[in-house]
């Protein structure tokens, strides 16, 4: 088994940002992502997961370094002023890199 060093980008944002974020994921070349609803309490107040339009979502995407940094840069530049959003990067090791 070979482990490939990759980056996990985690994006937590208001559900309204969803289509904008997923379009950007396509743009930077992400081959897949997971998405789930979360309750989020933050600087902009509490958001409850079961009210669809006020829900927060957590999106997780596995990328190599370059597109991961490109994604982070674009999130900050294009979305941070428009949507409630945080994003962070972590180091992971993936079994098969060709899927991403």
């Amino acid at each position: 088994m070979i482990l490939h060093p990759m980056k996990l980008v985690t994006i937590i944002c208001e559900a309204l940002a969803r289509s904008h974020v997923t379009a950007l994921l396509d743009e930077v070349g992400a081959h897949g992502y997971t998405l789930f609803s979360v309750e989020g309490v933050g600087a902009q107040g509490s958001r409850v997961a079961d009210i669809e339009e006020f829900a927060n979502i957590q999106i997780e995407v596995v990328l190599t370094s370059e597109p991961a940094l490109q994604l982070m840069t674009r999130l900050e530049r294009d979305f941070f002023s428009r949507f409630a959003m945080i994003a962070y990067l972590s180091d992971i090791q993936v079994i098969r890199s060709q899927k991403f």
Copy 2:
């Protein structure tokens, strides 16, 4: 874009511990967190997410090093003997540190 090294604290606990944990998050200066239901199977047996009072929750909070360690210390000292709970720390890189 500047990436700030931060800590992600992940807490998995019985839903009954929720208000205790979130009060502690306030106390250590967390500016926000996310929370979602999980099915947990562990040393204390299986807990099913759709039975509210037996559900487990996963709480994720981004902090700088010092409050992250303070949170871990308090979780162990005050809650580990009272609630089914695990907690772990990971290194992340965040776009904007001023939110946390």
Copy 3:
């Protein structure tokens, strides 16, 4: 408080693989795990979380290095050709290692 370096293994797979994966978790000596539904969009197309049999699940398990690598090896060898699945490893620090 003592922090123990451990591995977090994250497995994202079709819900159909669930019992196979959890049996393998037992086999490698995992003492517990969490599981939640996610929407997954990947190479094999979009899967929607609320259609039970097409849902994706995300399983997270904390292990020491050796069983974590053993788990990754077995996932690749036994399941990757049969199920839609990705798996990755990350470094975490856990308060109490004896639980895992």
